[in-house]
């Protein structure tokens, strides 16, 4: 099952994802017509700003177990297991904000929405673009992001890549300060493996 994977280190803060998300959740699903809609569509992904002005894409983690789901007394929040997605049923939502209190990430907003009854304020959050996925499209935010901060991939593949990247960073940038492993043979082996990889790379160039 593919999931939206966030790589906050690559977020350039352009907010293209927020525009795409809002449009994907409008009635018309096109940018220009969406601007004329009432209510105006709103994004489910929010770009936070760090102390140094770097962007951070903040969206629903679709937790399991999900604190918001447990906090929702009318039972408006439910899970679609085959898509790993936590959804809000706007008809059952009573706008009590319990889910927002329970959500550790602050990703639930309350407003009118094209997909709820007209005039009703409801809890709104990321729905993993299920309606797009059913049409064979990837989530709108991922499609919009040009810097690679948002990906849509199998979770375990993404975790493996991240593990490799972190390993690489630790070994290549802090290798000098890490204590020696204690076996000269082991160091020798790795020195040789490194030399082979580097040789392969330079000879290609």
């Amino acid at each position: 099952m593919k999931q939206v994977v966030v790589h906050p280190e690559k977020c350039v803060g352009c907010m293209q994802c927020t525009v795409a998300c809002a449009v994907a959740h409008s009635s018309s699903r096109t940018l220009y017509a969406a601007l004329l809609e009432e209510p105006l569509p709103r994004s489910r992904i929010h770009i936070g700003s760090t102390r140094f002005g770097r962007g951070f894409p903040n969206r629903c983690r679709h937790c399991d177990p999900a604190p918001c789901m447990r906090a929702c007394l009318p039972g408006a929040i439910y899970r679609v297991s085959e898509y790993g997605t936590v959804l809000v049923d706007p008809d059952k939502c009573i706008n009590c904000a319990s889910c927002a209190m329970a959500c550790p990430f602050g990703v639930i907003r309350y407003h009118e929405d094209a997909w709820a009854q007209p005039g009703k304020t409801v809890a709104v959050k990321c729905d993993n673009c299920l309606s797009r996925q059913l049409r064979g499209l990837i989530p709108a935010c991922v499609e919009a992001c040009k810097s690679g901060a948002l990906g849509f991939e199998e979770m375990d593949r993404a975790q493996r890549r991240k593990t490799d990247a972190v390993s690489d960073t630790v070994w290549s940038t802090s290798g000098v300060v890490l204590p020696a492993a204690g076996s000269i043979g082991f160091e020798l082996l790795h020195a040789q493996k490194k030399a082979m990889v580097e040789m392969a790379q330079t000879s290609r160039a």
């Binding site: 690559k10 977020c11 350039v12 803060g13 352009c14 907010m15 770009i47 700003s49 760090t50 002005g53 770097r54 962007g55 040009k146 810097s147 690679g148």
Partner: protein, 627 residues
Amino acid sequence: MNSLRNYDSYSIAQDTRLMLKRAEQESVETVWDRHERQSPHCGFCEMGLSCRICVMGPCRIDPFGEGPQQGVCGADADIIVARNLGRMIAAGAAAHSDHGRDLVEVLEKVAEGKAPGYSIQDANKLRLVAAEYGIEALEREPLAIAKDLAFAMQEDYGTRKKCLQLVDRAPSQRRALWENLGITPRGIDRETSEMMHRTHMGVDNDWVSLLLHGLRNALSDGWGGSMIATDVSDILYGTPMPAFSQVNMGVLKEDMVNILVHGHNPVVSETILQACASPELIALAKEKGAAGINLAGLCCTGNELLMRHGVPMAGNHLCTELALTTGAVEMMIVDYQCIMPAISKVAACFHTKMISTSDKAKFPGMVHREFHPENALELAHGLVREAVENFARRIPERVYIPVEPIPMMAGFSIEAIVKALGGSVTPLIDAIKSGAIRGAVGIVGCNNPKIKQDHGHVTLAKRLIENDILVVDTGCAAVASAKAGLKVPEAAVMAGAGLRSVCQSLGIPPVLHFGSCVDNVRILNLAAALANTLGVDISDLPIAGAAPEWYSEKAVSIGAYFVASGVFTVLGPMPPITGSLNVVKLLTEGLNGVVGAAFAVEPDPEKAAILIKEHIDAKRKALGLGV
């Protein structure tokens, strides 16, 4: 009400800090609030990697290398960054030069007798500049000379010339260098127009040649549009001479009709100043219960009035909303450039009337009264009368003027300095040779909410004068150091021993107010005069430029003409170029081998001071002067 925010981190200026608290109480939104709401800024744009030049796009280049590396047309990061920077220079040069054009038009109208509010105040400068243009100036009426000069200057704007006239002021080595590089500016409008052409999709796609034209475009501003603006302003309104005045929001007066002028062009503010002196209007003000009419300035039109008439300054760029928040302003009159469209919203919270005056600059929420040379004086009288009448609508309980004004000295034109030195620049050169003054630095440019207001300007100025480096400043930088008390002769005690004794013997401050942003050309003129006297190029001199808090496209043009003229220039905020390390490298290193100077970027003024000091030491050494 207790403020939740730490306004001390926004500005080093006491008046700004107190007014920000007041703005919060009055629910007045400021530039800092809006800046916060814009964060994070789009990284593509901050790096110069987004292109909106055509509608096959807009395009952006992924700086991490995974996403798109070319726009739809195939432009890569280097091309896109260079094109964007080129267009910033073009916009800045256009702004300064169009301002210059407006002044030339007034000069023309004065010559034709069609501009009742204006006259020739410095006939001597008129003759000197006319002579440079090859216009017969002896034994002729000033108005006849003015007509010819206006015509000749208008030619500088066109396409008939191979080289702008005032380029002749540059040392011959510099002119030869420009000629060899093919960047001698030809026509003021031509270079800007050509930049727009080159950066159209599918024209100049060599980032180096784009940047070289950027330098030429900037030179058409520095040795063209801006230089004309300053010279013609001096001719029409008088060449500045040192005078005392006051600065900060305390220059607004609780018991007077307060009028603020904001913008850049003295064409409007000069007539407002005349109208404010009208006995009839002053009598009316007294009739309305005010003690008189108080005119004060903001930004560069304020600097223009300050330089020539000692009109006090209420503040710099980031003070413009806050000055209105005092509730003590009857009228603000704006012309163009750096006027945030937000200010009329602030005015709407008070009784303040907002007036726009230029045919090319209209603002939401302002009443538009278009100034032309023919009607300016009449309009100015009418506006001042309206301001006086508006005094009755002021709500005294809401007036808050939090500080006492700081004294300052301004008016340092080259002519004034030469006069103070006894008729030539030789004493200044001797002081530089002896090491009493180790060098000179122009601190210029704006405020930018990304940098604690005035911290960049003031810290840098202090560190430089401590090291016996004379500071000349312009624009909002000049207002910053004045607010910090650096522009009085007594401030000489803050300078190193050498600079201190020079300042004390001449009775001048260690930080000299050179005027508005177009007046940066006074710095070029001084540099050229020093270089010519010494028989060296500008790039050989122990001088530098700095724009510690710049924000505007005009500042990009200024920085580029400084560097192209041979002046090492340190920028505070990073321009949008980091998307192309090629462009970064060329601007910060490569240009040294091309024009003998380059840019550096250093937001921390303490570190910028070290960079500049090292640069000046190196230049002194190369000239065989003591380090």
